[in-house]
């Protein structure tokens, strides 16, 4: 589909010259409307829907207990009985991949949540108080950004000790500086608004001002960024698990399963193939939706 280049109150103009007249619903929710007209966004949404369904009813769909070891079917290739084959303990890989959706989504969302909370808090304080508080906090985030991201995550994991909780916290801390910068920028912008002056004139200040008047103005930008980073957070938490520093065996975690599959690369390729495909599928879903969202929410596209 061609790129949208302009939106009028009545018409949406596309780059290739097509003009469409949206319905009233589309006029009111035109960004959502544009999003739903983007094929890649729909594919992304579809993938996320599949993941959501897998999260909710996955355990019911799974033909086996993901931890059940069937020593009569070790490293069995994909078949009717075992759709994705089995691993070295005879565990059903399809069931383990299905259970892994929960672990992956939870890890990505919690890590992202930590990044958002910590980052938004720092950015809010820095942007609102300015001066030396701002200087100190922003120099600190500069230092955090001076580390290649995986190394920063590795420092955190080595302090907390390997484990899925440490990996999630580590990825959360790695992303926090980016949220802090974004929030600070939006706060500086929001502070200039008349309603903030009005609130100040009424005697509102400090935490109440930040919480009630500035934060709501900042949230849209922060939540968009959060959508864009969930996919990355999932892949990177899986990366830490792959290195043996995140989820530990026997957890049904895609990164850990992939690391395990590496040992059977020559004889049983399916052990590594399917968890990897699951990570790719998930990342693709978030990236498709994220890219489309970024285009649609581009502020240059104003009614």
């Amino acid at each position: 589909m061609s790129q949208v280049i302009g939106v009028d109150t009545d018409d949406v103009l596309f780059e290739d010259g097509t003009v469409i007249q949206p319905t009233r619903w589309a006029q009111r929710h035109y960004r959502l409307y544009l999003l739903l007209r983007t094929p890649s966004a729909l594919v992304g949404l579809f993938i996320l829907l599949v993941l959501l369904v897998a999260t909710i009813i996955g355990p019911r769909l799974a033909p086996y207990d993901p931890y059940y070891q069937n020593f009569l079917a070790e490293l069995a290739p994909p078949s009717h009985a075992h759709l994705f084959g089995t691993d070295e303990y005879g565990r059903d890989i399809f069931s383990r991949v299905l259970y892994g959706v929960r672990s992956a989504l939870a890890a990505g969302i919690v890590a992202n949540g930590i990044a958002m909370l910590v980052g938004a808090f720092i950015g809010l304080i820095a942007g609102y108080y300015g001066r030396w508080v701002d200087g100190l906090l922003m120099r600190t985030t500069d230092v955090m950004l001076a580390f290649p991201y995986l190394l920063l995550a590795l420092i955190v994991v080595s302090i907390l000790g390997p484990g899925i909780e440490s990996a999630v916290i580590a990825i959360g801390i790695v992303y926090a500086p980016q949220f802090a910068r974004l929030t600070r920028g939006s706060v500086l912008e929001a502070r200039e608004h008349d309603y903030v002056d009005a609130a100040r004139a009424l005697g509102v200040s400090g935490p109440r001002m930040m919480w009630r008047h500035i934060l709501p103005a900042v949230m849209p930008a922060v939540s968009v960024m959060a959508t864009l980073t969930v996919g990355l957070a999932i892949v990177e938490t899986a990366g830490l698990s792959f290195l043996g520093l995140g989820a530990q065996p026997p957890a049904a975690d895609w990164g850990a399963m992939l690391a395990d599959g590496r040992n059977y690369m020559l004889s049983a390729q399916w052990v590594a193939t399917f968890p990897g495909m699951a990570i790719l599928f998930t990342a693709l879903g978030f990236n498709l939706l994220g890219d489309a969202l970024r285009d649609v929410l581009d502020p240059r596209l104003v009614r």
């Binding site: 061609s2 120099r139 290649p148 995986l150 190394l151 302090i159 996919g231 992939l258 498709l288």
Partner: protein
Amino acid sequence: MAQYIARRLLQTIPLLLGVTIVVFLGMHVIPGDAASAMAGQGVTAAEIQHARHELHLDQPLPVQYWYFLTGAVHFDFGSSLRTHDSVMTDIGQALPTTIQLTIAALILAIIIGMGVGVLAATQRGKITDTLAMSIVLVGVSMPVFWTGVLLLIYFGATLGWFPIGGSLDNSINLHTITGMTVVDSILTGNLPALKSALSHLVLPAFTLSLFPAAGIARMTRTTMVEALRQDYIRTARAKGLGRLSVVWKHALRNALIPVVTVIGLQLGLLLSGAVLTESVFALPGIGQLIVTSIQARDYPVVQGIVLIAASLFVLVNLLVDITYAYLNPRIQYNS
């Protein structure tokens, strides 16, 4: 320009100090200090006390930091709790592998990324463009550790075209000069070693290059589409210059500056991706070393690697900034 470089150099000093503080404090909060770990079992309290004194652990925190900082400036991070070598020796042996891998991946990423980007831009809106950009999207979404395992399975194990890990065949004897296998075999004129080194490098470098290549391809496409629309391109074509020459010489040169920025941004990702890639291909680089060290709770090595890698990263970014300023005549040196 000289003034700009000097100012950027000065700006990196507080940044590097900040990095040392983060690393120092990070390692300080780990429960159980280096002395008790080093002392091992069956030693008396007096001996541990002695070790603590030796390592300055009985001093106040700022004093300890001072010792740490002066040590770091001399590349002295103590000795590994695992191998008992000096940390710098261990890192020195591993670093060349990582540098070689990263540079090879960067070169591949630039070639693949710019090639795909230019192709997509010239074929804009056609099937080639759509196809190229879909592949790029998959490239962005592929976790580097899975790409590596897949390539190993198919090109290593199944087809047998490439070795399945390591950096050199066991039968090959290579005199170490730089520690980078490819460079060393060229320097010593050792052809069998060069062949072996290259065949061990192809898959990991390709694996590591895909993610940055995708980023470079996207940026190249965007800036090329913009550049191809300019009047001077039409002028060049009207003058009778060939299509290829116009695309590669006129348009690409002017589209290059944002691409250089993206290449700079990819460096941090490359260093991070190298850790995962080394783990997949069993390459003895600093990525492998840091993972083993974390698992063995060998904190001096972890500390040393993080500090060296972060400093390298800061310096490389500085270089990128300077290159960028040099390439872009519009940048203000004295703002």
